[in-house]
């Protein structure tokens, strides 16, 4: 297996002024550097979103790679190339949701303990014990949510996406997203309130 080295940033400099639609067109024409340009343009957002939702760095990187592979391999299915970012985010979020479901299933069949996300991997060194306790409580509450509710809640409250974009990424209506977020918030409040 030949490993392809990452192109130096200088090679990508010429693509900086190009919009997503142009880059998508070039990728479809077989331009390998355009793929990397698209990747570099969006990877931070996708990876950070995945990390914040999953709370696990290795899982987040895995999801990011999966999302980019799927996007680049099925690029011809993208009807509007200018909406590459939203499309890519939707793919990534779908994969995150799948991870949520898998975790829940693992817990149900006893293969994982509740809240098995390594919290330490996402805590910074300067986090106080009180903050760590609160984050652990929040993480436990999130673990108990349905995948769809958790995704919508995270995208809205952690990533800060507008409701319309959350609906677009989740592939449902605005009303549904609002209902999911509300339900998630109620469960979190109940869990946190009961324990505190």
């Amino acid at each position: 297996m030949t490993y392809v080295s990452v192109a130096p940033a200088a090679h990508l400099r010429s693509w900086r002024g190009q919009d997503d639609a142009t880059l998508v067109g070039r990728v479809l024409e077989g331009d390998r550097w355009a793929s990397e340009a698209l990747y570099r343009r969006h990877v931070r957002r996708i990876a950070a979103t995945a990390l914040r939702m999953l709370g696990d760095r290795s899982e987040a990187e895995d999801v990011t790679q999966d999302a980019f592979v799927e996007a680049l391999e099925s690029l011809e299915q993208l009807r509007d190339p200018s909406k590459f970012r939203a499309w890519l985010l939707r793919i990534a979020v779908r994969k995150v949701q799948r991870r949520f479901r898998r975790r829940k299933l693992r817990r149900m069949i006893g293969l994982a303990n509740e809240g098995d996300t390594p919290l330490e991997s996402v805590l910074s060194q300067g986090t106080s014990p009180e903050e760590a306790a609160e984050l652990r409580l929040l993480r436990d509450a999130l673990e108990r949510l349905r995948a769809s509710e958790r995704t919508a809640w995270c995208l809205r409250h952690i990533e800060g996406y507008p409701l319309a974009e959350v609906a677009s990424v989740c592939g449902c209506s605005l009303a549904t997203v609002k209902r999911r977020i509300e339900a998630a918030q109620m469960r979190i409040d109940r869990h946190v309130g009961a324990l505190s």
């Binding site: 297996m1 030949t2 490993y3 392809v4 080295s5 990452v6 990397e36 990747y39 570099r40 990877v43 931070r44 957002r45 990876a47 950070a48 990390l51 914040r52 990187e61 990011t64 790679q65 999966d66 980019f68 592979v69 680049l72 391999e73 996402v122 805590l123 910074s124 060194q125 300067g126 986090t127 903050e131 984050l135 952690i158």
Partner: protein, 339 residues
């Protein structure tokens, strides 16, 4: 440092992670391309491999009897050119080849009449035997023709070598090389001499065997030979039967042999005795009775060389019975009981 959920994307994802993830993406895409290519080519590759395995197993499997090249079971009678599963070809002309045996170790066919060309693929796991009445052809990887007529059988070899067996050949067998041929003429049936009814008072006292009384010969010399010594051995009786046969007294010889068979039920040479009985009966044209004796001989056990000849004679009998060339049981005047 702020908690992770408050940090920006650039703070969370560093350059090293970006490099690492891109390498992973490239590898996954390469694997995916390989998998897609394989999934496109896999059906063709699997089909080709299955076909090759089928051909290999059908040509090499020692357990499989021969079939037609198309995979259809071999017919019991081959009347036209056929290609077999091992690549061999049988081309009958003006006759048929009846399949007598089709096993993993032997293929045996009977050419009743006409010509047939055999192209036997060399190196196969089985012996090929072609029966032609009084002639038997044994082959291993060769091309040869067999021509059968009313009065002769001619075997010509084009490639390889065959063994032609017949009691009418010097030493009973001849090896044919490419370009050689041999013609074996049909033996003339020997006119059977009518046997005289024996006089009961002429029979010796020792002839209490059920075979003896109705079969006793009519001449005094025979009576001398029939009367065995009190403690005559099995081999001694066989030797006496041989002498009688050499003297032209085949009926006496047969009777002695049957007496020996009745007297020594567990002897190891009983198969040879039965086969001698069969030959005597065949020579007299008593095909049906000869068949029974051959079967008993094969049951009792014969040496390898004699076994082949016995099978050939048996085929000859069956064929003679079918074609009406050989008479069946002669008449009531010469009954033969088998023990």
């Amino acid at each position: 440092m702020r908690p992770w959920h408050e940090r920006t994307d650039d703070e969370i994802i560093d350059e090293e992670s970006i490099h690492r993830m891109w390498r992973g993406i490239e590898v996954r895409r390469a694997k995916g391309r390989l998998r897609r290519r394989w999934s496109l080519a896999a059906p063709a590759v699997i089909a080709a491999a299955a076909g090759a395995m089928f051909l290999w197993s059908s040509s090499r499997s020692p357990a499989a009897p021969l079939r037609l090249a198309s995979g259809v079971e071999l017919p019991s009678e081959i009347a036209a050119r056929v290609v077999l599963s091992d690549g061999s070809v049988i081309s009958p002309q003006g006759g048929t080849v009846r399949v007598l045996a089709n096993r993993a170790d032997v293929f045996e066919g009977l050419l009743s009449e006409g010509d047939a060309r055999f192209e036997v693929t060399p190196g196969g796991p089985r012996r090929w035997i072609v029966e032609c009445g009084w002639v038997q052809v044994e082959v291993a990887g060769t091309v040869f023709e067999v021509r059968r007529r009313e009065t002769f059988v001619r075997v010509s070899v084009e490639r390889g070598a065959v063994l032609v067996r017949s009691t009418h050949l010097p030493e009973g067998v001849r090896r044919l090389e490419p370009g050689e041929s041999v013609e074996v003429r049909r033996p003339e049936p020997q006119p059977s001499r009518p046997l005289q009814q024996p006089q009961p008072e002429q029979l010796p006292a020792t002839q209490s065997s059920p075979f003896a009384s109705p079969l006793s010969g009519g001449v005094s010399s025979e009576r001398q030979q029939i009367a065995p010594a009190e403690r005559e051995s099995f081999q001694g009786m066989l030797a006496r039967a041989d002498r009688a046969r050499a003297a032209g007294e085949s009926a006496v010889a047969e009777r002695i042999l049957l007496q020996a068979l009745a007297r020594y039920p567990g002897h190891r040479d009983r198969g040879v005795a039965w086969f001698t009985v069969a030959r005597i009966r065949l020579r007299k044209g008593r095909c049906e009775e000869a068949l029974g004796a051959i079967d008993r001989a094969l049951e009792e056990g014969l040496p390898e060389a004699l076994r082949e000849v016995a099978r050939a004679r048996r085929t000859e009998c069956l064929e003679g019975r079918r074609d009406g060339l050989l008479p069946g049981p002669r008449d009531e005047s010469e009954p033969l009981r088998q023990p």
